[in-house]
Amino acid sequence: MRTWIEKQKHLIDFTLASLMRRKAKNLGLLFIYTLLVFVLASAALYTHALRQEAQKALAGSPEIVLQRLIAGRHDLIPPGYIEKIGRIRGVQKIEGRLWGYYYDSVVKANYTFMAPRDMQIERGEIIVGPALERSRGLAAGNGISFRAYTGELFTFIVADVLPQSSELVSADLVLMNEEDFRAFFKIPPGYYNDIALSVANPQEVRNVAIKLLTALPDSRPILRDEVLRTYASIFDWREGIMLTLLAAAILAFGIFAWEKAAGLSAEEKREIGILKAIGWETGDVIKMKFWEGLLISLTAFLVGYLAAYLHVFYFSASLFEPVLKGWAVLYPRFTLPPHIDGLQVATLFFFTVVPYTAAVLTPIWRAATTDPDTVMRA
């Protein structure tokens, strides 16, 4: 066993010396390899963390949101709908919601206005999301005016700013009193944008939705699970765009790695011949080259993954922000809670380290099995 360990130590020593001898070539390879792992890992970590965050954020949302449609377009819920739903079994809580979009021409951005039920906001006051705090330089106690779609000017006092921790979902939010909201958007009393429904038994959600459609044929129930699926597909889609953009880079790396691995230089072939002639077995040569491939790919993987981790969780994935974060003008600024998925790490490892190490071995095996006497004839 000791001899075996010593032998492996010798092989690693020689491998390191070999790597150092071809410093420029190997450092170049290591750099490109690390960059590739970094980009792939960043995309994977980022979308995964976003998905987790969205899932967490939506965990508290209602099981069903009911909208009313007219000519296939979303319309206000008229009075009487809430009462009708109240008679459907399995529905635990019904809540009419008021929300809308407002375009602020000053910063050329859309805000989401909402009149929350679970929060007491005085008339004439608003609570704003962190993105508004930044873009309009708002702080508690400041006044701000918005011109309604009717042309009328409304002035509000900022009562509070929402915490940064909720920024992913609240960046562009403006919360206000229900009466202010109705006055601003000219929504008559008893009308709502949609209805949020809580269903106690998750198994019953689909049944309740069917009953809603029967009782209110002009309505459209949106299930939380569907929203989650939509979010997931949006993130997957974004990840897909990133990977498509990267496809050329990945392909280039593939060719580069293959060329480096497959195309043993005459010098390397000569060296293998010498090693075999002086008593190295074919297995020793292959093991040495295996260590070489493993050292390069493992270093690239570890450094690339660590850099991606820091990039995503400590620098808010600043390099990919425009592609990955969405279409809003007011980008949320937030730090995702660090989250690593074992399966994801294993997948990335499998698709980066294993192919390279394997690609290195094939030509080496071919070179290592040549007769040792060739060195005598060089």
């Binding site: 001899t3 010798h10 001898r21 008593g279 077995e281 007769d371 005598m376």
Partner: protein
């Protein structure tokens, strides 16, 4: 020590460019003696040397090392025999560029798994023996031809082999360096090592240290000359 019986060696066998480098060699290499193989280019010297040194297998015939038939052994076992029994000095020296002299010397010992410290100590001693201790950390491409050959000699000796094989060892050396090389070889022969070398350099084949001179032509042995024992020769001279 090594016995060759009916050795034939073909290259590209079965193809249109088939060549027979050796056509029936019967030869015995005695232990603790210096055997030189001489002959013109293409006579089969190097091919014979590769078979003697277990670097290649014969196409036909038997190779016996200390009485044991090794011609049919798989590569793995041949490698082990090669590592334990033979030390090689190649015509082009075949040192690994980019490594220091001492790193080159200990290379053949890596597969043995001996501790690095012991290997370095042994390598230091070998380099000191050939007056090269001061160049131990120099990269081999910075060394002169003579120095490179001395590194190659030390590398051949690191596993303490019984047999030393040298292929055209003076081909890249001037006369002075060739004489120095022969002096080192003589010391090794006196220490009891078996030495087999090929050469067509008169300085080598006519050297006093050669005990047996085998002449080859067209893949066959045409002459074998055995000289009296070295100490008798020395006493006579």
């Amino acid at each position: 020590m090594i016995e060759l019986v009916g050795i034939r060696k073909a290259f590209n066998q079965g193809q249109h460019n088939e060549t027979w480098a050796l056509s029936g060699i019967d030869l015995t290499i005695p232990a603790h003696r210096v055997t030189a193989l001489k002959g013109p280019s293409g006579s089969g010297k190097t091919t014979l040397l590769t078979i003697l040194g277990c670097l290649a297998r014969p196409t036909a015939g038997r190779v016996r090392l200390k009485g044991e038939d090794i011609s049919g052994l798989p590569e793995r076992f041949l490698t082990e025999i090669r590592r334990q029994t033979f030390g090689f000095i190649f015509q082009q020296f075949n040192l690994v560029r980019g490594l220091s002299a001492i790193e080159n010397v200990i290379l053949p010992a890596y597969p043995t798994g001996r501790p690095r410290k012991a290997l370095l100590e042994k390598a230091e001693a070998l380099l000191a023996d050939v007056n090269l201790a001061h160049r131990r950390n120099a990269r081999v491409e910075w060394l002169s031809g003579g120095e490179q050959q001395r590194v190659a000699i030390c590398r051949a000796l690191i596993n303490d082999p019984e047999i030393l094989i040298a292929d055209e060892p003076t081909a890249n050396l001037d006369s002075q360096l060739a004489k120095e090389f022969l002096a080192i070889l003589e010391k090794l022969a006196d220490a009891g090592r078996t030495i087999i070398l090929t050469s067509h350099d008169p300085l080598v084949v006519e050297a006093a240290l050669v005990d047996r001179l085998v002449t080859l032509r067209d893949g066959r042995i045409v002459e074998t000359v055995d000289k009296p024992e070295r100490r008798i020769r020395r006493a006579a001279s």
